[in-house]
């Protein structure tokens, strides 16, 4: 019964999305009040119906209803409940349903919350949102039905990939999806504003919280994903430039650029065309990213060909949304009145540089990700790996760090280069001092040296906007900017230290044999078998001694039976100045055990920085929201005065 309720709600939601689109179009074309009045309530009900479909699917997974095909293929009745719950979106159909659910809920939220936009633009926005949702509803109903039954219900399901049985991964996709879908709302705003030719500060202010919120979720999702890959895969790396990682990085880069340009539009009425373009690009990146990875075309062209119907459907959606928006942009943006202009040396100018550098990095990542696909169409098989991305994107990322340090110290509209240099004295001093100290104490490579020195300069420059102010009266969004920029500096130090100072040892060790790695002496104390819920493992007992402290680590190599899989569970000791990372490998015939040991100084700063960046975004969001509420109250009071 639950499956039928879910399917019925899905059809109804799709019908309402179609109705929402038609009403919005009628309202805009004819200007009649009735269809216009209908759009908001329809959007709200559509969101509620979408939520019902997702709840139905989660209920099916929790109940292990083995008459539903999706549950059979992706779940197992013996699985811990949390993974049954997460299993609802740990597959193609379920994740698409989650996508459209968040999309529907976001549309409902826009209909309820949005008061800043002129009504015509809001109606156009909700119409665009309905158009996007309609495509995904159709995709689910015709090509990826999550509620399909099977005729012979087996007693048990096929389980979930053991690699995915990890709480980090259970909540990683929803976090990223909220980010992606938030960007889709920004896209709808841009399309709405293009349709009504109303690209101005009001539109930017309405769009900004959506961009900020989705950027915070994207940042958290990427940070969590990076740490998950680091500890779960046992490779000791934190970023691999894998197409799946790039799929979330590309929208993040575009959203970061959009976040900054939307501020220029909201406060200074500049960068109109550019902001609209970035909103379109950001959503294009989240669509291209999610779906090219989902369809498997990037990791393997083969998987894409297995289901040409789905592939064609996705391509059609890409063509309609991205192609449509770009065509609308080209046709309309020329008729939008140009915004304010500014001098090159100004806050706006700094933000333009920031945007250009971010766009170049985005271009590099996009080209690197798609190049194998392009090469394949010419019959050449190749893959593009970290050496390309690091070499191409690294120097530009460092230039971006410089721009980040300078930007917040610039005044709006016009500034004086001499005065700017005066303000930059402390950051430049910090960069120079750190660089010199590094060269004397522990010379790293060129890029890490630049990375750590510039991070020191950026850290100092980030705090400067707070100097000489009453900290309690400083607006929360200024705090947000400071914290986010500081977070970038912190992450950068972590990345540079990891690449410059990591010590690695790979050894076949006998029991009792001491091994040196970084500041530690590690001894293999013993190996014993252990058994878990649905796995068995060999567990090593390692004692790691540093100065006079000894810690015990227990890395495992695990074997799952259903399906048969082996994974290595690394053991990681976190100290204030870094992590000792240990992995247990195979035994050889002489009774020695393969051990991989890494000492990674300050590597934790990478993720600490990520959390700070997201926290900065959240502070900004709260700050903007509070100021707006205050302003609204003032307006209301004036009205009744």
């Amino acid at each position: 019964m639950t499956a039928e309720i879910g399917l019925a709600a899905l059809w109804l939601a799709a019908a309402l999305a179609a109705l929402q689109l038609v009403m919005a179009a009628l309202g805009l074309a004819r200007g009649q009040p009735e269809p216009v009045a209908a759009v908001r309530p329809i959007a709200i009900v559509q969101g509620a119906l979408a939520a019902i479909t997702m709840i139905a699917l989660i209920a099916l997974f929790l109940a292990s209803d083995m008459s539903v095909k999706l549950v059979v293929e992706n779940s197992h009745s013996a699985k811990p409940w949390i993974y049954k719950f997460a299993g609802a979106w740990g597959n193609h159909e379920g994740s698409m349903l989650l996508w459209v659910t968040i999309l529907g809920l976001a549309g409902g939220a826009v209909a309820i919350l949005e008061r800043r936009l002129p009504e015509r633009t809001l109606i156009a926005t909700l119409g665009a949102q309905a158009g996007i949702a309609l495509g995904f509803y159709a995709f689910l109903l015709f090509a990826s039905n999550p509620f399909a039954r099977i005729s012979h219900a087996p007693p048990n399901g096929l389980g979930l990939n053991p690699l995915l049985q990890d709480p980090g991964l259970a909540f990683h996709p929803p976090t990223l999806y909220i980010g992606y879908v938030g960007i889709s709302v920004a896209f709808s705003f841009a399309v709405g504003a293009l349709i009504t030719r109303d690209v101005g500060p009001a539109f930017a202010r309405a769009m900004r919280p959506w961009v900020l919120a989705s950027w915070v979720f994207l940042t958290l999702g990427i940070t969590a994903g990076s740490y998950w890959a680091y500890y779960e895969l046992g490779w000791g790396g934190w970023w691999f430039w894998d197409p799946v990682e790039n799929a979330s990085l590309m929208p993040w880069l575009a959203a970061t650029a959009l976040l900054h340009s939307v501020t220029v539009l909201a406060t200074r009425d500049g960068l109109r065309a550019w902001t609209v373009m970035l909103a379109v690009v950001a959503f294009s990146m989240s669509m291209i990213g999610t779906f090219l990875v989902r369809s498997g075309i990037l990791t393997s062209v083969h998987a894409f060909a297995v289901d040409p119907e789905r592939g064609a459907f996705i391509l059609a959606l890409l063509l309609i949304y991205i192609g449509g928006a770009l065509a609308l942009f080209a046709a309309r943006i020329g008729t939008v009145r140009a915004g304010n202009t500014f001098e090159f040396v100004s806050r706006e100018g700094g933000l333009v540089i920031n945007n250009l550098l971010l766009s170049v990095i985005l271009g590099i990542v996009l080209i690197g990700t798609l190049y194998p696909l392009v090469a394949a169409s010419f019959g050449v098989q190749l893959s593009v790996g970290p050496p390309f991305f690091n070499k191409a994107a690294g120097p530009i990322a460092l230039a971006l760090v410089v721009a980040m340090a300078v930007g917040p110290l610039l005044r709006w509209r016009r500034d004086d280069a001499g005065a700017l240099l005066d303000r930059l004295i402390w950051p430049i001093a910090a960069t120079g001092f750190t660089g010199a100290a590094l060269v004397v104490l522990a010379p790293p490579g060129v890029l890490p040296l630049l990375g750590i020195s510039l991070a020191a300069g950026l850290a100092v420059a980030s705090i400067l906007p707070l100097i000489g102010r009453n900290l309690l009266r400083t607006p929360l969004f200024t705090w947000g900017m400071v914290v986010a920029h500081l977070g970038i500096a912190v992450s950068l130090v972590g990345m540079a230290c990891d690449s410059a100072y990591t010590a690695e040892t790979l050894i076949a060790a006998r029991v009792g044999q001491p091994v040196r790695v970084g500041p530690y002496v590690v001894r293999l104390a013993g190996i014993k078998p252990v058994v878990g819920d649905n796995w068995s493992a060999l567990e090593a007992r390692l004692t790691a001694t540093r100065d006079d402290d000894t810690i015990v680590l227990r890395p495992q190599s695990r074997f799952f039976t259903d399906p048969v899989t082996a994974t290595s569970e690394s053991a990681i000791a976190t100290e204030w100045d870094g992590q000792l990372y240990t992995v247990l490998g195979q035994a050889d015939e002489q009774g020695r055990w393969q051990l991989r040991l890494w000492w990674k100084p300050f590597v934790t700063l990478i993720w600490l920085g990520g959390v700070l960046i997201a926290l900065g975004g959240a502070l900004s969001l709260i700050g903007r929201w509070r100021r707006e509420r205050r302003e609204r109250r003032v307006v209301v009071q004036e009205r009744y005065a």
């Binding site: 065309a273 373009m277 379109v280 690009v281 294009s284 090219l292 075309i297 393997s300 062209v301 083969h302 894409f304 060909a305 040409p308 592939g311 064609a312 391509l315 890409l318 063509l319 991205i322 192609g323 770009l326 065509a327 942009f329 080209a330 943006i333 020329g334 798609l370 696909l373 392009v374 394949a376 169409s377 019959g379 098989q381 015939e589």
Partner: protein, 175 residues
């Protein structure tokens, strides 16, 4: 801003779309093509490793009869899975020789006792030297060699039940 500039994003997207659509319509050929096919087998002489069974040298493959050369190891799990197919090929009259990679005599004896022994000769390639000379990257891997010592067919990975017919045909055609 120039008007045509506004249309460039759409044009770029169109290009991207064409590439992706192309990939969808005409999936790329992902089979590994060997550079070794048509080339003569490299010269090697390997000592025996299994008791009572001769070692292996290139000369064996130049005696006019096509043979199957299997590269395997006792520590390789797909190799164990492949054994029944090799036994079937043997039963179909295909002579099968092997090179054992990084193996030891006791471990190999255990492997042959467990999985059966389809091999006429087994060469001991402790350092993977011959494996590298053959351009083979992993175990198991099989080559069909014609009677003049030339490689005519390469099979990467374990031989599945569904591959047996094709390999038997390749041996027959090599005559």
């Amino acid at each position: 801003m120039r008007r045509w500039l506004l249309w460039t994003p759409l044009a770029l997207f169109g290009l991207l779309f064409a590439v992706v659509a192309g990939g969808l319509i005409k999936p790329a050929d992902r089979t590994v093509r060997s550079a070794m096919i048509g080339k003569p087998l490299p010269d090697f002489t390997l000592p025996p490793i299994a008791p009572g069974k001769p070692g292996l040298s290139t000369a064996v493959f130049r005696q006019g009869q096509p043979r199957l050369l299997n590269i395997f190891a006792s520590w390789c799990i797909p190799c164990a899975a492949e054994s029944p197919q090799l036994l079937r090929l043997k039963a179909m009259g295909v002579p099968v020789d092997a090179i054992a990679i990084r193996d030891t005599a006791p471990a190999l004896r255990g492997f042959l006792n467990r999985n059966g022994d389809p091999f006429d000769r087994i060469g001991d390639d402790r350092q993977s030297a011959v494996q590298l000379a053959l351009g083979s990257s992993g175990v198991p891997e099989s080559f069909v060699i014609d009677g003049k010592g030339r490689i005519v067919h390469q099979h990467v990975g374990d031989i599945r039940a569904s591959d047996v017919a094709a390999i038997a045909a390749a041996v027959k055609n090599a005559r």
